[in-house]
Amino acid sequence: MSSNIDNQIICVEKISKFFGSFQALKDVSLSVNIGQRIVICGPSGSGKSTLIRCINGLEQQQGGKIIVDGIVLNDSSDSLTKIKSRVGMVFQQFNLFPHLSVMDNLTLGPMRSKKITKIDAEALAMKYLERVRIPEQASKFPSQLSGGQQQRVAIARSLCMEPAIMLFDEPTSALDPEMIKEVLDVMSELANDGMTMICVTHETGFARGVADTMVFMDDGEIVETAEPEKFFTKPKTRRCQDFLDKILHH
């Protein structure tokens, strides 16, 4: 992976993570440049989600170093607060706030953590709802929307915080097949606009079309890093080849 220090926005250095005695991450290092679009794939339990959850502080790593946008993530709540506001995240299960309307879901973050006025926050929310192409759903509640629409609201909610990096944790895995495309389309547009993204996903079409770097993880380690074309056609490692065989030919 080409990494230019001036351009670097995320630096993960030899981080480890244990859940009890299970080691989910083993000395994992990853460097991400501004505008880079990384897709992480690998078998379940390989540490993909754990890795990106460490980057925004949802999990605390044990050992190693994480620097995001020049901020070293450490135990101080100050660094965590700063990093949280720089990193957006979209979850497999959407995690929208069910008791709030779509509009309130979107304005809560900007109003409470950035102290933006309600009017400005609503304007911001409309801007991003239009970007994910569901401005007409603003007054509805999450339960009234389809899965695809909910996930797009979740993306808009993250964008309202105007993050420098977006993390996607299997954003289409909980969706019905016919709704996957609408979410991937929104993500592709985001990528085209230059957003720095790390996506954990098995959507190979999306990966080929959008990613500039593929990362393959297995057993808590980054096994292979390559450009998509090389990755899908000529994987270097056996483990990666086995995995691709499973997801590509079924």
Binding site: F97, H99, G109
Partner: protein, 244 residues
Amino acid sequence: MKKMYLFIALAFILAGCSGNWGWYVVNPTTEGGFVNLKFLLSGLYYTILTSLVAIAISILIGLVVALPALSKNKYLRGINRFYVEIVRAIPILVLILWVYYGLPQVAGITIDVFWAGVIALALSDSAFEAEIFRAGIQSVDKGQYEASHTISLNYLDTMRFVILPQAIRRVLPALGNQLVYMLKMSSLVSVIGMEELTRKANELVVTEYRPLEVYTILVLEYLILILLVSAAVRRLEKKMNTGN
């Protein structure tokens, strides 16, 4: 169900009227009976006031006590356990007596009947409220905290805007139960002389020597009051559930 209760109560009263019992003491068509009924009903004010103030305080204490139970810190969790176990172990009547007769001596303050009753009821109930809130908060999905994290909400905002509104909706039936329970338990503060429904009934029994008739009215007073409160709580639940 409601109708059936009322029917049984009515049948009971009518049966009594036909016998040689003393329903005249509470017969509103006679002057004496009317005065007595008014006297009994005048206890309603303190029953309702005491219960409402006590439940409001106990909900606040319960919430404050519930939050440390969710902490990762075991000492904070310990504080919660300690409070809940101790308070839950003291009978309400004992707590009422202790707060009214004991607390002024310990704390060197004077405390009137009303506040002694309210404090004792509120403390006693707060342990249950704490457990209710703990269960409600724990039932909210972990993803809600994570989503709050990603939009940079701090702990208090996460609780206030995301977790508690969902938790409270879920525990509303249980909170309604506690309110009903509180209305009933407020009868115990009659022992320290608060002029609520039960105390009024006791006083009338002493002057009229008609316990059956007076206490039957007392039963009806609580019954009607609590059925009304239950209906109100159910309406509130319905109202809060629209939108979900």
